[in-house]
Amino acid sequence: MKIPFSYTFRNLWTRKLTTALTAGGMALVVFVFATVLMLEEGLRKTLVETGSHDNVVVIRRSSQTEVQSVIDRVQAAIIESQPQVALGAGGERLVSKETVVLVNLIKRDTDRPTNVLIRGVAPQGLTLRPQVRITAGRAFRPGSSEIVAGRSAAERFKGAGIGETLWFGLREWTVVGTFDAGNSGFDSEIWGDAVQLMQAFRRPVYSSLLFRLNDPESFDQVRAQLERDQRLTVEAKREKVYYAEQSELLAKFIRYLGLTLSVIFSVGAVIGAMITMYASVANRIGEIGTLRALGFRKRSILAAFLTEAVLLALVGGCAGLAAASFMQMFTISTMNWQSFSELAFSFTLTLDIAAKTLLFSLVMGVVGGFLPAIRAARLKIVDALRAI
């Protein structure tokens, strides 16, 4: 026969301070666990959704990032003329020959300089990235010293807001608009006309090429063509893959650090739960004896104490998760080591993460409650009754 649930619940309720402290410790651990997962998810979303499946990025072989890549005009022309490149509505080739540089800009809140990625794009650059929408002002006019800033770049950097000006490359650049790229990595960038930016930076070469495939499945074919061509020293990647690789190091770092911390912290929380449950058993030896004498089986005692530990963990888990969900209001910005530029991303809570977090807290409860529950179940009736 099962011991009623209300017995378990009331046990926790009578010792409110202990329950609150134990659940509080667990809540903190769960909070850390959840925020790490949320951060990783936010980073993944930001960078993976930056790319599109049928776009191809071409950079110099083994240059790893656009910033380090160099593609000269002759090479660019060869790449552009590949038969797999899609054509736009007006018959133009959907290729954006881009120049990517890093510029030091001052952060609005800390007054410290940070690397910001400035991307010179061809007019097709916007067509190739449908997720980018101008939300305020207008797009830059080709052939002018005008730039548009991504949403989070405009917010975070001095001079990047609409109507403001930036000084670099011996020129003053006017921000004529801001764009929203749907929380992707482009939101941390500033865009201008590729030709003008190359002039300003005295760069006669492009950094990378982006083109749309006319058939998404023809990627392997075009890659083989480009990499076989003796005149080229380039590598081609699907845009999606390119951006996923850009975040690999940072994502790994966050995951490793976060999981190590979660493990260490959970040891602390499990110990806390164990102490509480051992005390709970020790205080109720007589009670346990009575229950056994009344005919409750060992199994029921074990279940009752395990339920108590799990309930305790669940309270902590829910509190931690609730606190973590508030983290969604914050945006983290840090330098991405691979592209060397500033990247903003936010905590993202998904159902999957919520489920994982609650499962994690349940496991902590079971681990912490198991030994004390066994001790309770193994008490001999006579000894237990004599303990009063």
Binding site: R15, L17, T18, L21, T22, G24, G25, L28, V29, V32, R60, R61, S62, S63, Q64, V67, Q68, V70, V101, L102, V103, N104, T110, R112, P113, T114, N115, F168, G169, L170, F201, R202, P204, T233, F253, L257, L261, I264, F265, V267, G268, A269, I271, G272, M274, I275, T276, Y278, A279, N283, I332, S333, T334, M335, W337, F340, E342
Partner: protein, 388 residues
């Protein structure tokens, strides 16, 4: 009460519930250990800035580090009053076998560079070999141990910024003059880089990543900084000069979000363990309510009762903290070995140890507050009636 008896009583009390005290102490060990390692990670982040010399300035392109400076600036900088010597370095960014084996590589003007960095100690014979060999390289002790480099070894790097496969011969190994000196770097001749670039990409030849400027005295830093930047204002490559420390801190501030997160988490772990410890003390005090009343009836004042509880709490926290501090050193060593060259300098600082001890004592003291207050306030009649 006689102090010896008092201590005996405290110790007996602490050991009454061996399992509970042991678990609590174990939790504190884990927390203090985690706290120490996290603080050391934060310190390692700032290691570059901590090792910076006050008599060195770094001049770089004002746009960002990605843009080089012309070699011709060297002579102009040297002419400026207050400048003792000038050297230059290029970030090479090569890949050793795979991307995982990251370590910093610099192409430097060898003679002047090592003269500017007296903390890099090289055997004179090895230095002579290095200067004679155009493809020679000098590697740090830590790097040499990690990858087993010995003088005479061939090392091949795949260029990311400078295309191609580059062959080097290790000619010497440098040691750090102090513990905080970074010995995970790889230096080679800028001439080797430049000669290859003249052949491959003449436009990129004769350029320098950063100039390192040695000052005649540290108090000239501000005027020399201004003088250098004024010399190159309105040129195609405007410069930005900072003290070496400011330059290094610039990198730290770009990844500040991560440092802040680690710092917050390191305090969070102390909070969690505080909850666990407070729980232990609360339970202990509740169980002994009748005992405290008895002691009071015997004539012990509220202060001695409070002191007893504080003593017990501090004894458990102190023991845990002590073990934690002792274990921090081998763990940090292990962690540094696992991380390879990601953290070039990874030492447990004296300040960290002090903070660990302070944290342990704080946890002990805070945990004892509420139970001590309750015990001091208890009324004898109520306490004697209390059933644990």
């Amino acid at each position: 009460m006689h102090p010896i008896y008092f201590l005996k009583l405290v110790l007996r009390n602490a050991l009454r519930h061996r399992l509970r005290s042991g678990l609590t102490a174990l939790g504190i060990v884990v927390a203090i250990l985690a706290f120490g390692v996290l603080r050391t990670v934060v310190d390692a982040w700032y290691a570059g800035a901590a090792a910076a010399s006050a008599t060195r300035l770094v001049t770089r392109n004002a746009i960002s580090l990605v843009f080089p400076l012309p070699l011709t600036y060297m002579g102009k900088i040297r002419q400026i009053d207050g400048v003792k010597s000038v050297s230059h370095a290029n970030w090479f960014g090569g890949v050793y076998i795979t991307e995982k084996n990251f370590f910093p590589q610099f192409a430097v003007q060898a003679q002047s560079y090592f003269a500017l960095y007296p903390e890099f100690v090289v055997d004179p014979g090895q230095m002579r070999d290095f200067l004679r060999d155009r493809k020679g390289a000098i590697v740090g002790r830590k790097l040499a141990t990690t990858y087993g480099f010995k003088p005479g070894d061939q090392v091949s790097l795949r260029g990311t910024i400078f295309p191609g496969n580059w062959e080097f011969v290790v000619r010497g190994i440098y040691d750090g003059a102090e513990a905080k000196t970074d010995t995970s770097q790889f230096f080679f001749h800028w001439d080797y880089l430049n000669e290859t670039m003249i052949k491959l990409a003449p436009r990129r030849a004769n350029t320098v990543g950063v100039y390192v400027v040695g000052l005649t005295s540290a108090d000239r830093a501000a005027t020399v900084t201004a003088a250098i930047d004024a010399t190159f204002r309105n040129s195609l490559a405007e410069t930005l000069t900072e003290t070496e420390q400011a330059f290094q801190l610039g990198f730290v501030s770009m990844t500040e979000a991560i440092v802040v997160a680690i710092k917050i988490v390191s305090f969070l772990v102390i909070f969690i363990i505080m909850a666990v410890m407070a729980n232990t003390m609360a339970m202990t005090a509740r169980e002994r309510t009748a005992e405290y009343a008895t002691l009071k009836a015997l004539g012990f004042g509220p202060l001695s009762l409070a002191a007893m509880i504080f003593g017990e709490s501090l004894a458990i926290a102190g023991a845990g903290g002590l073990i934690g501090v002792v274990l921090t050193f081998p763990l940090a060593e292990r962690f540094a070995a696992e991380m390879g060259s990601l953290f070039p300098v990874f030492n447990v600082g004296r300040e960290t140890v002090a903070m660990q001890i302070a944290a342990a004592l704080l946890v002990g003291a805070v945990a004892a507050c509420l139970p001590a207050l309750r015990a001091a306030r208890i009324r004898i009649a109520d306490g004697l009636r209390h059933v644990g």
